[in-house]
Amino acid sequence: MNLVEIKDLHVHFTKEAGVLDRILGKSSQKIYAVDGVTLKIPAKTTFGLVGESGCGKSTVANSLLQLVDPEAGEIIFEGENIIEADRQKTKQLRRRMQLIFQDPISSLNPRKTAEEILEAPFRIHPDLKKSVESLDEEIDRLFEMVDLSRQARHKFPHEFSTGQARRIGIARALSLRPDLLVCDEPTAGLDVSIKAAVINLMIRLQEELDLTYLWISHDLHVVKHISDRLGVMYLGKMMEKGDSDVIFREPLHPYTSALFRSSPGVESDEKENFVLEGEVPSPINPPPGCSFHPRCQHAMDVCRQQEPDLQKIDERLVACHLYD
């Protein structure tokens, strides 16, 4: 059963023009951060979301946690659309899904010790506090769970290494005993050995606590290692999605394959030096038709005019006119 389902999600940000800007004749601009994304995450599995910087991965995560208001679309959690949930409901829902932030240090209040940070959830949710015997022990347990020593309790965030700070973020998320953990680039900026340790930890936790992961990353090695299902995003849209193994074995969308080939060591067979030209266009004026066409080797006329739909090819969904 799907724990969570996102249906045709649109998130647009408006770059507000100030009062004075408007007098000066500048109107507000729309940023199409997420533009029609659909995905399903079965319980206890990991869904990997990849794409270049700025393609809207974090925005998907944030809308899932109701940190941004989507323009349109549905987010269905355990069969219930939660977009219009009221405050009380949101508060409860938030306990069921948690976010691990992209930047580990800045997601921790610099003026609080690790211990205080971990205590906060218990202060906010009194019933949670009632459910544990001793807050102190519970916090010890959490520290243990993420492989941190007790001495870490009294340290301030900046006194931790990136890997350790990441663990505190994870422990905080886990303290609420969520079902869904949204991991926004949880291994970014870590050295290989530490990265491996964090990945191991996450896999262990998933097994121990029956967690479901939405795993966002642009490190394809990691995603390949951990995810069951995979979604590839480009400029706010889903390009290709399906079983992770299937896509890694044979990417169909030109963007997916370009991405894989740019990433050294992912497609070890292809030794030719491949480079995807150009940069991601601005999400303020996305190109018409298929948003990837300006960088696509295979671009056809239809790509410039018509936006391709996701279609099922070889056990996965691809949005590309090549397969029409």
């Binding site: 004075l20 800007d21 007098i23 000066l24």
Partner: protein
């Protein structure tokens, strides 16, 4: 850049309207019957009536507010309560002195402040640095009116090197400069100290930046890196302070003008406040506020000039 400046200008409109409203309401807020205070016991009812008309007290306040703002837009700040002299004449008479004082103090503060800041950052942790740092700390912590008093005591009265009064003979530039020395230095010291401290720490901070490593790695001469690349970047926080200082110095000039008995806006205002000369207070404060706002705007714009990133935000 132009757009940024324009934006700042537009925001000025409501700000200045607020300022005008405050000045206008002073008429109603000042305690006592203006006629009594201004005209004294000899006032006849006719004179009181005329006075009230002059102050706009004869009309309901919204009407006189409109009239007040209208007059100001036409450049008419009213006449001094003691008749006869239009306020703008009074102000124009003294304004050059204040501007000259403020600018020359600013000039001194900038030269001294930036100079000492650079020297002490270039010789970080040497004796020279320590001496400058201490000296500059003292400068910054002694209020300018105390400097002024000490200057008068020592340089004018004890040593007789500097004059104690006035702005110098009109038209005699040399004499005017001679009269400016004491006030300008007294006014500048506090700010010079402040600037020096900011420049020093900003300079040291900038020298730690990554791009300095780049510049070093390409073998650019240290003098070029220090005086061109680091300085322009490091001066940025100082620029804000410097231009802010223009406003501060304008305020400080009040004390300096009174102590050195120099003609000027501050002196005019203090006297007007003492004598309850409402139109002069209102006009003087308005001009001071205008200058101040202008200085602050200059600060923002020069800040933007030195930090190209601001323009696009």
């Amino acid at each position: 850049m132009v757009k940024y400046a324009l934006k700042r200008l537009l925001w000025l409109v409501p700000t200045l309207l607020g300022v005008l409203f405050f000045l206008f309401s002073m008429t109603y807020m000042l305690p006592g019957d203006p006629a009594d205070i201004i005209l004294g016991p000899r006032a006849t009812p006719e004179m009181v009536a005329q006075m009230n008309q002059r102050l706009g007290l004869d009309q309901p306040w919204p009407i006189s507010l409109v009239r007040y703002v209208g007059n100001i837009l036409q450049g008419d700040l009213g006449t001094s309560i003691f008749r006869d002299v239009p306020v703008e004449h009074l102000i124009m008479r003294v304004l050059p002195y204040t501007i000259m004082l403020t600018l020359s103090a600013m000039f001194l503060a900038v030269i001294l402040g930036i100079g000492l800041g650079i020297i002490s950052s270039a010789y970080e942790n040497t004796w020279l640095d320590k001496i400058i740092t201490f000296m500059v700390l003292i400068w910054a912590s002694v209020p300018n009116f105390i400097w002024a008093v000490l200057f008068v005591l020592i340089f004018s009265l004890r040593l007789g090197w500097l004059p104690v009064t006035g702005g110098g003979e009109p038209g005699n530039l040399l004499d005017q400069i001679y009269h400016l020395i004491g006030p300008a230095i007294a006014l500048s010291l506090t700010w010079a100290g402040y600037i020096a401290r900011i420049v020093r720490s900003s300079m040291l901070e900038t020298l730690q930046e990554d791009f300095i490593t780049t510049e070093k790695s390409f073998g650019l001469p240290m003098s070029l890196i220090f005086y061109k690349y680091a300085l322009k970047r490091a001066i940025k926080p100082a620029i804000a302070v410097i231009a802010l200082g223009l406003g501060r110095l304008l305020g400080g000039a009040v004390f300096i003008e009174v102590i050195f008995s120099r003609p000027g806006l501050g002196q005019l205002l203090v006297d007007a406040i003492e004598m309850r000369n409402l139109p002069v207070i209102r006009g003087g404060v308005l001009v001071a506020a205008l200058l101040f706002v202008l200085a602050n705007m200059l600060a923002d714009i020069s800040y933007a000039y030195f930090d190209p990133r601001i323009r696009y935000e």
